[in-house]
Amino acid sequence: MADNYDVIVIGAGPAGYPAAIRAGQHKLKAAIIDEWKNRDGTSAFGGTCLNAGCIPSKALLESSELYHKAQVEFAVHGIGVSDISLDLATMQKRRANIVKTMTGGITALLKGAGVTGLQGHGKLLSGRRVEYTALDGTKKELTAKHIVLASGSVPTPLKSAPIDGKYIVDSWGALEFDAVPKRLGVIGAGVIGLELGSVWKRLGAEVVILETLEQFLAIADHQLAKEALRQFKKQGLDIRLGAKVAGASIDNGAVNVKYADASGEHAVTVDKLVVAIGRRPFTQGLLGDGTGVQLDERGFIQVDHECRTGAEGVWAVGDAVRGPMLAHKGKEEGLMVADLIAGQFSEVNYKVIPSVVYTAPEIAWVGQSEEQVKAGGKPYKLGVCPFMANGRARAMEAPAGFVKIVADAQTDEILGVHIIGPMAGELIAEAVLAMEYSASSEDLQRTVHAHPTLSEALHEAALVADRKAIDTINR
């Protein structure tokens, strides 16, 4: 193992490993240090995303949705099934195998790009040095021309409901239950809380979600959030808004959660409680003395628009820095930094980063909400196309939801696209591309969309904006 590198990346999550691989592609001598440990003590690259977040949750969402469909939807297709049983152990094994395959893939990709993968702890020292502590405890000092900090984030703890790993768990713990809880409590109705709640609801749990804010999914367009809440309530998710958790105590193998809302104080008893109130940047043990790297008041590493920190040659990307805590945002930042280090021009367009909630129906959006556009003062127009009008959605038995386009009334430029419905996370990609090219809704109208597809809903929504829709009532 060499001591001197062109680039050292600390953290091999979705922001760190792309940075390292791109550096390798630029023929730079790169190393990546990562300290992720799975529950069984094994090390793996990929960070939270691959091991305890994005990937495992999508695996369970898929499995649980199939289980759910088998029970409620197959009949209308004329498919008779009896004795549908759930073997959670097998479902979890599938999840674990997918994670293992993906993380193994990262190891192979890093190797293929000529990056030295080091498992252990990396600590930034002053003067472009990194103290690497291997798994066996031996310390070694490495030097590099550039150091990229990609230490990611961890679930934000809640003082009134401390994690014990058995009854009260965080999002990682909620992915690894070995039995379906009879009653599941979730604190936080954000993206993670909704996804986890959906998984266990479909697998048979009674789910209560306590959200401290009065407004549901405040980060999304109001019309979108309203429809989402309606759909989730229909599915039986008990979402309680304006509920501030006061405390959680363990009694007789169950969790008693006390909370207060506008109507007074309440309590609810659940078998397992998931704390999903958000994530916060993780920089513990990362920064030595006198490195010159500053943190802001919320603990994020301070960087400029090119992800440079205050220290010469030190960069920071991903969840550890400002901006939406999304894997794809971290990835783009990682790639940008690697390209900049190699002397090329690169930038991240923060204005067109999509957000996705992988519930069913799926929710996705990019750009400004109707409320944000309204607040900006510019006159705007809307185009909404419900999936009920879409042939493909009907054939898929997924007619719920809509596509909503917000465009500038004068120039017709697309300002925001909001989708709730089947494959929203995939459909949003067209909107992101359109907005990257400053497209107008007329451009979407004049682009051919295959029939019958879900993407036609975007086409129709664009037409509705100008009252020219064919297969939708213009309203």
């Binding site: 120039t411 990257e436 090219y437 400053s438 497209a439 107008s440 451009d443 004049r446």
Partner: protein, 409 residues
């Protein structure tokens, strides 16, 4: 195999260069030694040839960027075998691109409005990615036009009419609209400007004048020019006479061939005569090394060679570095008299001018003689007035009686 194309080693006096323009695009096939890109330094334009045949894969540095010695410019994929295929593939793509260039730059919605309103897309600036014209751009363009010369009398019906607006700034200038064109100085011109001011600031420059009767030289030329050309393959011009005459005078007044370095006067015991050549890039002064050892034919051939090189931009830095004395000729442009600027760090410069028939008094009679004014701008710090004047007199006397060159008088 991938090969890195790098900036060639720049000469010591040159810190960096500007990448002027790429002649090849990624995907283009290149043959060995084919010029890939032009780099401009303070003095010359360098070409960067392809080290092998192959396909240009990736351009690392764009037009207008400053580069240094050894910097990577591009990646070349070696392989002659690939080249023909790459050429075949690249050409149709390039042709297609050119055909669609107009259409591709317009978003579909923008295209519609442009067609309907009969707008010239060239008059709209694109704010979209890669300069694409978006619907917003077209709408704003129409709004700006409608707003501009709107006569209060005409009603709303006229708001879609395209008013006559000046499209090109130069065209507008012709109509006397007092437009200005701001053009940044090329690197070469900026450097020339800098050196000129430097010369003025550091030297005690003044100019002494004299005149020379070129009848004898012209008679010599008329008598021998054909024979000269046949024998030596070069035209017998005036320059060789002037160079030789200057060298004779420099021998007598070594201070004129010297330069100041710090607190020292350096007397050069060799004669490197710079001959100023005017190019459209600016003034270049290639140097005739050890001109005292060169024959008339050598001098004429070298000068002709430099002139050709200067015209097609292939003069090298070595060609124009150094020099102990410079001769400049404003006469070709019609200048009768001038005060040339010294080519630092030299100490003097001889200015030749237009040969004009003037009435002179010779042996009491008035005759028409082909006269040329000579100017010597000199650095008074090391050349005193007497030396400067006598230097010029020496040049004049040698030219008026060319036999003196033969006898080194």
């Amino acid at each position: 195999m991938s090969i890195e194309v790098r900036v060639p080693q720049l000469p010591e006096s040159v810190a960096d260069a500007t990448l002027v323009t790429w002649h090849k695009r990624p995907g283009d096939a290149v043959s060995r030694d084919e010029n890939l890109v032009d780099l401009e330094t303070d003095k010359v334009v360098l070409e960067v040839p392809a080290p092998t045949a192959g396909v240009l894969r990736e351009i690392k540095v764009g037009n207008g960027t400053t580069v240094t010695s050894g910097q990577i410019l591009a990646i070349l994929e070696e392989g002659a075998a690939q080249a023909p295929a790459a050429v075949a593939r690249a050409e149709p793509a390039v042709r297609k691109q050119k055909e669609e260039a107009g259409a591709a730059k317009l978003a579909p919605s923008a295209r519609r409005i442009v067609e309907e309103q009969k707008i010239d897309p060239g008059s709209i600036s694109g704010s979209g990615r890669d300069g694409r014209i978006t619907k917003t751009d077209v709408v704003s363009h129409l709004a700006a036009q409608a707003a501009a010369p709107a006569p209060a009398a005409s009603p709303a019906a006229d708001n879609m009419k395209k008013p006559a607006a000046p499209v090109h700034p130069l065209k507008a200038a012709v109509r006397g609209s007092r437009a200005e064109q701001r053009v940044p100085m090329t690197r070469l011109r900026a450097r020339i400007a800098e050196r000129m001011v430097q010369a003025q600031a550091s030297q005690a420059m003044l100019t002494s004048f004299n005149e020379v009767d070129l009848k004898a030289v012209m008679e010599l030329r008329t008598r021998y020019k054909d024979k000269f050309e046949k024998q030596h393959g070069a035209k017998l011009g005036f320059m060789s006479f002037f160079v030789k005459a200057s060298i004779e005078a420099l021998r007598k007044f070594p201070a004129v061939n010297a330069s100041i370095e710090g607190n020292d006067i350096v007397y050069h015991e060799y004669y490197d005569i710079g001959v100023a050549v005017s190019t459209d890039r600016g003034l270049l002064v290639p140097v005739l090394r050890d001109a005292d050892a060169l024959s008339f034919a050598d001098i004429e051939k070298s000068i002709a060679g430099f002139a050709a090189k200067a015209r097609d931009g292939s003069i090298t830095i070595e060609d124009i570095t150094g020099g102990t004395f410079t001769i400049t000729n404003g006469g070709v442009f019609g200048s009768l008299m001038s005060t040339p600027i010294i080519n630092t760090p030299q100490s003097a410069i001889l200015g030749m001018h237009k040969i004009q028939e003037r009435p002179m008094v010779v042996d009491g009679a008035i005759v028409a003689r082909p006269m040329m004014y000579l100017a010597l701008t000199y650095d008074h710090r090391i050349i005193d007035g007497r030396e400067a004047v006598q230097f010029l007199v020496g040049v004049k006397e040698t030219l008026e009686d060319p036999a003196r060159l033969l006898l080194q008088l």
